[in-house]
Symmetry: C2
Subunit: 270 residues, 2 copies
Amino acid sequence: MKTKSVPPSGARGLKLNIVKVGGNIIEKEEDLQNFLDAFAALPEPKILVHGGGKLASQLAERLNIPVNMVNGRRITDAETVEVITMVYGGKVNKSIVAGLQARDCNAIGFSGADGNAILSVKRPVKDIDFGFVGDVVAVDAAMIHNLLSIGITPAFCAITHDGKGQLLNTNADTIACELAIGLSEKYEVTLNYCFEKAGVLLDINNDNSVVKDINSDKYAELLNEKIIADGMLPKMENCFYALKGGVHKVHLGKPEMLHHTNANFTTLRL
Amino acid sequence: MKTKSVPPSGARGLKLNIVKVGGNIIEKEEDLQNFLDAFAALPEPKILVHGGGKLASQLAERLNIPVNMVNGRRITDAETVEVITMVYGGKVNKSIVAGLQARDCNAIGFSGADGNAILSVKRPVKDIDFGFVGDVVAVDAAMIHNLLSIGITPAFCAITHDGKGQLLNTNADTIACELAIGLSEKYEVTLNYCFEKAGVLLDINNDNSVVKDINSDKYAELLNEKIIADGMLPKMENCFYALKGGVHKVHLGKPEMLHHTNANFTTLRL
């Protein structure tokens, strides 16, 4: 019904947008609706990726399940992986899918288990036992490409599986990054990280201090000057890991950047 | 990776199994695992449909959200549709999908919003306001057929959408029935209702009292004798509605019937 046709599979130079939407956006209904407007208006093919950490913590608290975070990462016991599956895979994912359908964007919600899209392995215990947390080992780019080719827009939540029946909690930035690398063989991929800031900022409190272009040299410089630190550090590491894996470019900034209506965002290239 | 090929689309006489698994099976871990063994072993193409009512009620109770049932149907307010989305679309659906993947069955979890597979309309208020409950108006058989054709096994939870962003609670028996009718144009569909009983029973406490074959005449007779009553009545109405809609046959019984290892189940034909 709403399936649209895209150029034949494997076409060189076929562009794909992968958009990861940050937790601070999906937690505010108005911001989420604005984001979905911007995302749905992108030309196809496209993929959405989301987490929902704070919403999961809220449900865990209501259910008296302790929330344990170490270095910003969630310790995921059996009860917690169930909470995450309900919030990321149920509540957030299905409401995003319904919201996209209302905008004539033919989305299908995915965890990594669906279509065996993202296979991971339970993180080995070293200093910290993260519990049911998965490190990605394989992305089924051919299956995802098949769906994109018939006009489907996959919407991924931050859950993978081990192929043996166990669901695993996996960071949404990482999922976006691994999908982008996996699909770079068939597509010229732009990986977009949408969040509440305008990009990489020289002054974290000033959205006009965006560093517009960052390459490997500039990145080394910013690291040296300690402009990139804290939460931005793993995000930037993900970005350069993606670029080294064949991703065309990475954008960081507010959802408006998806349509370049505002030049105030960061572009990363090798 | 695990995608398998099936005969070309639209082939006449191509068989499709649609299997609805009852709540009493999915609520017991061992029974669910046995059911998934039986389902995964079916030849493709196939579709699974599930609800999860009691599990939703359990979560609602933990969250102090009142559970209101009228004639066995749930009154679905805004909080309840969220609970249902978390339980049916998240917890139950994703664990079924992961369980099928572990059995080399390439499942993708669906609500009616995903792929715009099942469009419904919020039930008009007459005597009772059921709230966010959806009556099915359209099934996108072409999209589902596309997925079946590339070896995907859709696993549907009992949620639909109104196309305007609202998720709606819809009876799982009804979803199985509407999918079966929708796909009967392209497939010879067997609709299987798996539950804890061996089929339609002359004596509800005796699994050996199964009525093996029921056609329209026999159905009228059983109704007359009040052998079909209570919960079986809407189920049987669904079955004959499906048969009149072009479904080849309907089976009712325990999961073992899927492989005919036991002849103790009910077959319905017009």
